[in-house]
Symmetry: C2
Subunit: 344 residues, 2 copies
Amino acid sequence: MNKKLIMDGTAIQPTNSQLQVLGIFNPAVIDFQDGIIMIARVAEQAIQDEDEFFKVPTFHPSHGIKVMKISKNDPAYDFKDARVIKNGKTSYLTSISHLRIGKSIDGVHFDFDSFAPLIPQNQYEEYGLEDPRITKINDDYMITYTAVSRFGITVRLLKTRDFIEYIDLGNIFHSDNKDCVIFPTQVNGKYFALHRPSISQFGQPDIWTAQSDNLTEWGNHQIMEQARVNYMSCSRVGAGAVPFLTEEGWIVIYHCADEYNRYHLACLLLDKNNPNHVLKRSKSPLVEPTESYETKGFMNDVVFTCGLIQNKQEISIYYGACDERIAMCTLTVKEIYDNLEVIL
Amino acid sequence: MNKKLIMDGTAIQPTNSQLQVLGIFNPAVIDFQDGIIMIARVAEQAIQDEDEFFKVPTFHPSHGIKVMKISKNDPAYDFKDARVIKNGKTSYLTSISHLRIGKSIDGVHFDFDSFAPLIPQNQYEEYGLEDPRITKINDDYMITYTAVSRFGITVRLLKTRDFIEYIDLGNIFHSDNKDCVIFPTQVNGKYFALHRPSISQFGQPDIWTAQSDNLTEWGNHQIMEQARVNYMSCSRVGAGAVPFLTEEGWIVIYHCADEYNRYHLACLLLDKNNPNHVLKRSKSPLVEPTESYETKGFMNDVVFTCGLIQNKQEISIYYGACDERIAMCTLTVKEIYDNLEVIL
């Protein structure tokens, strides 16, 4: 397997002069015209230029990105977590993400200047847009992403043909949900998706499937039992790249995180005719943090995929490294198969 | 307003000789043939006949209800909460609920012996079936209910024409979700439902709407902002009875619980053509715990509705009292209207 660091956020312009880019990561990728389109998550933080205040970016549908000042001495606020500031039941993210669209001919060098970014547009996106996935269905590119707001974490859907004009199809999964990936074709007359509900009292952060007639309304939610978190001491799992069909079944690359938030990528082989049925699973991690760009960063030891490009028998998995930069690894379908085992 | 205690669990036979009935509560009701059908939640507990063990009922699809013995001296288990026993990440409910179907001619005396109960049938119902609602759509009775298991809290849907044979339509909302109520007619060509996602990090337990073409697949999830929990110091709200249409709009009776778990019922008036838009809301609690059967029981101070019967201008709200018994109150549509105010 070949690994390569593709880019970090240094060349990315902030959306606003009050903000600075923390990183670019968790990219979706898809073949488009003569090259590859990438939709990547860009995290920005308010520029911290006043010692006594912590500045937090939020979005309001009426006046766009707004920077809120919180006194560091205000006892109502809890600053312990670098990612979240809490005031009683209200939480503020210290950074806000949006999605940036880039294009590449060679799959390695991406130009992010030709397409408008996807920034918060509604109340469900107040704390940002995160972790996109792109599925091509007929002539449409369907983009799922996570929307974060005071109302929770929902999965939303956009439709585009050109990555210039988008149709907003709303919240397709209610709060809290993440890591939604739509299959590229119907199976037995239904569209399928993988998704990852967050749980409040019972259960674990596991992968579920759902079915749909029209891509906007989803039902028949079922847990993928053999993908459950009791495997390889994972404390949560979530789908990653859009599944692709092989003779043996659907291949899904997904992430597993342990209780120390160390991530790795693994593979599931799903039944061709029933994507809820796991036939085989990786024996050992397929991609794990080994390189310095995967082990040290905004969040250490994170490899998180939202997309891959298939070129006959060669698969290029694009992934976020440390919630800060984008890397890629290339391996063959045979290498993926050789690491699979039947689940007893 | 007239209040009346309808019944408690004393006349209800347990499903199994190892179990005892704790109560019957949270009933759905609907006009059916020459009378009224009630689907009520019955909670059962294992008979505690060994001093050193706490016995917990669970359901397994292969061998039905099973009573698990937990040593009271086992330090791995946490017995602090009367409703839930915890062992690390695993939770067990101390009681398990199923649904019992009764029939009445006068709306007050219900016979529960003629219909088979709805007991756990699959892995999503391992810890029970709770809080049903019945909506008649054309010739079908659509029954939503909460299913509880190690995989979380989902909303499931059954379809019946006779309350004898049921078609299982699976999980219509993923974990965690509760309090799903389907509207009796389409609005602008779509079916609508109210539902209540439980949240894990951001947000509050608020009422949301969803839309559907086929009743089994749901999308376009939107929060009902004016029903939010910041009203009358509620810390959570959830839809109750199936909405009914008046000239002014849809009337929804729903529950509000404060941080001390004291419940009351209130009313929302929703736009006829857009059920996500709240026009008016109760000025003051419509039904609150005042009678001894509403204030003292398995859970004190609980009034929780899952259904009502409309008889011209008279509305009979059926509700669970204290998670133990069933009560009813009768009031007029005018009384409900007089308590509404426009939300500024």
